[in-house]
């Protein structure tokens, strides 16, 4: 059995984009700050539309924001 994990560079991207706050990103993506916190902490995997919206906010592709890791045990 393998375990799947979705990692992300949200924190780094926020700081690279004029130190964007979680609230600013949340407002642009149309979600709450708590959702951004949960995504950053890897505790919530966003839906595909939300992932695209976040990537569009930074003007980069979705693969540059989210990485899918499939660990085989």
């Amino acid at each position: 059995m393998g375990s799947n994990r979705l990692s992300n560079n949200l924190r780094r991207l926020r700081f690279e984009n004029d130190h964007m706050t979680q609230q600013q990103l949340a407002d642009k993506a149309g979600v709450t700050r708590q959702t951004i916190i949960a995504i950053e902490a890897g505790k919530y995997a966003p839906s595909l539309p939300l992932a695209f919206k976040i990537a569009q906010t930074f003007g980069i592709s979705i693969e540059d924001v989210f990485q899918y890791e499939n660990e085989q045990s």
């Binding site: 149309g30 959702t35 949960a38 505790k43």
Partner: protein, 143 residues
């Protein structure tokens, strides 16, 4: 605190208030042994007290309106927990007297609305607590 958490706290407080109002009323009805029109009149008075509280609770067209996708998911999970809690609670309140009193014994009639009110309270309580716990677990590592 997010809108969902605020709604959960509000729900928890309101349902507790309703429960605290309803239970003494129920025991009052049972004590005076009201029935027929007397019973209906007393129920009407109780409804006059509790309806505004329920109206405040459910005045929104949709509970999920304005919530984002994570909050909707949390709410769905909490609803599943509430259904599970309701089932377990209902099983307990129905089976415990059966095993304690025995199959040939009798229970008072006021036990029936008490089961209904307690089950409603249990389901709402589990729903709100499940929302608050999920929010807490997801946010504990956040800043």
């Amino acid at each position: 605190m997010s809108k969902l958490q605020k709604a959960a706290w509000f729900n928890l407080v309101m349902i507790t208030v309703c429960f605290i109002i309803s239970i003494p009323c129920l025991f009052f009805l049972a004590r005076v042994n009201a029935k027929g029109i007397e019973y209906l009149l007393t129920c009407f008075i109780v409804a006059c007290i509790t309806t505004p509280v329920f109206y405040m609770l459910y005045r929104k067209k949709s509970f999920e309106a304005g919530f984002d996708e994570r909050e909707k998911m949390i709410n769905r999970r909490a609803f599943s927990c509430a259904v599970m809690g309701l089932t377990v609670f209902l099983a307990c309140v129905c089976f415990i007297p059966f095993f304690v009193l025995g199959g040939q014994n009798v229970v008072k009639v006021y036990y029936l609305p008490l089961i209904f009110l307690s089950t409603l309270f249990a389901a709402q309580f589990v729903h709100s607590v499940a929302i608050l716990i999920q929010c807490l677990l997801e946010e504990e590592d956040g800043q």
